[in-house]
Amino acid sequence: MSVTRRSVLKGMAAAAATSVTGVPKALARERKKPPAGAVGMLYDATRCIGCKACMVKCKEANNLPPDPGGKMGAIYDAPDDLTGYTKNVIKLYREGDKISYMKAQCMHCVDPACVSVCMIGAFKKDKQGIVSYDPGMCVGCRYCMMACPFNVPKYQWDVAFPKIVKCEMCRERLAEGKLPACVEACPREAVIFGKLENLKADARKRLAAEPGRYFPKVYGETDGGGTQVLYLSAAGIPFEKLGLPDIGDQPLPELSETLQHAVYQGFVAPVVLYGALGLVIYRNRKRQSSEEEGDK
């Protein structure tokens, strides 16, 4: 028997089934590692005094206007979160007598969701692992904002010709041999810049040296497949309280890319389905026209 309606339906069902269940292990994509020259940042919440010097310097370096945030009147730069004009913000967490500052910025994920979803590569991960943004390739679909587990990419809602805005680790300054603006500005070395490997070792050393001072975890070592911006929090203050969600160790693009590539591997399934559909339609039409002739 050649192709029948049944075989096409079976084929469609099989394609659908593989798309959702039996994704062979072999097809699962490999876990990504940070690139060899990976750089990063380490923010130690116990060292931060909330002076916001980093915010001022960040705006200056990135040429971003003040963001009044609406609550303090129009004359202050007082954003209460990352916005389309704020790539770096210091937040305050307070519950009872527990107080902590928190520096929100792009995490520069090892396997970033924004890079995975971006249609024509406005988001890219460079040699140092910095997740960069190219407005020339951005259509403003905002899928990156849907995808990012940290809600980092922001959009300029109030203008006719907007951009997506997020921290790019001052890659222009790095190219000139300077430090990222926030790191340079910090008077307490609460945020430091360096090779990712060194930062990880440094963070672990701090945890080991003063276990009573810290919450016992380096956020970003493995979270969401790892990030290149690492966090230390004060004892008794879990990272969720600071706005860093518990997202497990699985990189976000793993599920979606594995499923998608399993179905569309080499574009075989769509081509086979297309051919089968064409054949069935052709046969059916031929049968139908011969029946019609028979009627006459």
Partner: protein
């Protein structure tokens, strides 16, 4: 194609047409504002809810309701139910309109729309991006749909074209169209299979933001099944309305045997939906009786009721029940997709989104445009089957939206 399709005729400027035109004009004014002031002042979208109803309704729901062409093509050409052939043109028309307007809606929603021409360029593609696949498929499918519909225009222009060159062109194109028909029809089935499932895959990445009742690796399969249900239901809905408005002989009896196919698809959806929750130990979430479990139960009820009703022959052949079932199936799919894209989407504890009035008006305006285009085309071109040239009602009486979403 020797067709029994006829233009229904009658005056163009009816009450329905004018009301739709008024709504559309208001939305055009809002759109001018949107392109000058940006999305912030005109919509309720925000940094935590970057996608609002323009994506969720006009694209995610709208294209599914516009899957009538897909559902009927599957039945007619693959399952070889040739006797439903007369349903194909109205179904393709609503699909073409629905998908085209989804495309328009995307452009309205895009922040940096002037870069959109870079998307179809092969060398720019990020092959990991599910949205890219959806975008390319939808762009191609819009073209396929209008070519599939072209015979309706060509048949008319061969006899009576406003310009002589149009007539000549039509005569020239017609044989060529017949030649490419089969590859085109196959493409018309392949593309929705691909992008409707991928619309579901788009939410896979939102693992931690989408409620556990909706986030599942089954999203693509559930979206595929739901679009078939919604597309078919939209055809039943539209056929019943068109028959009533244009006083055509009732098609409902003809549609009834098809409903049994929908019972199969509805139960397939329910088995996958519930089986998945059970296998992954998430059934408990249904019985928390919070907002999410309420939305889930409502959604499931709207799938279960038509599935059960349509199992009975006497209900399938009852036009009233069938129409009601079609409405429920459309609502069920609509709710499922809204839940998966907006209601179940909680990116941060204090985040919220509810569409603004101008935002809703734009969506209404696009539906209004669709109604206008539908009425205009079916009156002038051979789309509907077995029509008598009865004078259509003027005014608003009983005339409602025969369209399929935005």
């Amino acid at each position: 194609m020797n067709s029994h399709f006829r233009p229904v005729g009658g005056p163009i400027l009816t009450g329905t047409f004018l009301v739709s035109a008024a709504v559309f004009l208001v939305s055009v004014l809002i759109l001018i504002w949107r392109f000058i002031a940006g999305l912030g002042p005109t919509t309720a979208m925000n940094d935590l809810y970057p996608w609002g109803i323009w994506i969720t309704y006009d694209v995610v729901v709208g294209t599914a309701l516009a899957c009538g062409g897909y559902a009927v093509a599957l039945l007619c050409y693959v399952l070889n139910k040739g006797k439903y052939h007369h349903l194909i043109r109205p179904a393709i028309l609503t699909s073409a309109l629905g998908y085209s307007l989804a495309g328009v809606s995307v452009i309205i929603d895009l922040g940096r729309y002037w870069n959109v021409w870079k998307v179809p360029l092969l060398w720019n593609w990020n092959r990991n991006s599910i949205l890219l696949e959806v975008a390319i498929c939808i762009m191609t499918y819009v073209v396929v749909l209008w070519i599939e519909l072209a015979p309706a225009f060509i048949e008319k222009w061969e006899e009576d074209a406003p310009w002589q060159w149009l007539r000549k062109l039509s005569l020239k194109i017609h044989p060529w169209l017949n030649k490419i028909l089969i590859p085109l029809l196959a493409l018309g089935i392949l593309l929705p299979t691909m992008h409707q499932s991928s619309l579901g895959s788009m939410m896979l990445i939102a693992m931690h933001k989408l409620h556990k009742l909706w986030h599942t690796p089954m999203l693509p399969l559930l979206f595929l099944l739901s679009c078939i249900v919604m597309g078919y239901a939209a055809v039943v809905f539209e056929t019943a309305l068109a028959d009533k408005v244009f006083k055509l002989p009732r098609e409902t009896k003809l549609l009834a045997p098809l409903s049994i196919a929908m019972v199969v698809v509805l139960f397939a959806f329910l088995v996958v939906r519930m089986g998945d929750l059970a296998l992954r130990g998430r059934l408990g979430l249904i019985f928390r009786f919070d907002f999410y479990s309420f939305m889930f139960l409502l959604e499931i009820a709207l799938f279960v009721i038509p599935a059960v009703l349509l199992m009975f022959r006497r209900f399938r052949y009852n036009p009233g029940v069938e129409f009601m079932c079609a409405m429920m199936m459309m609502t069920a799919g609509l709710l499922y997709r809204f839940d998966a894209f907006l209601v179940g989407f909680k990116p941060a504890p204090n985040s919220a989104y509810f569409p603004s009035i101008p935002e809703m008006f734009v969506t209404l305006g696009l539906v209004g445009f669709e109604v206008m285009a539908y009425l205009f085309i079916v009156k002038l071109f051979p789309i509907l089957g077995g029509a008598t040239h009865a004078a259509p009602r003027t005014g608003l009486g009983g005339v409602s939206v025969p369209a399929s979403g935005g």
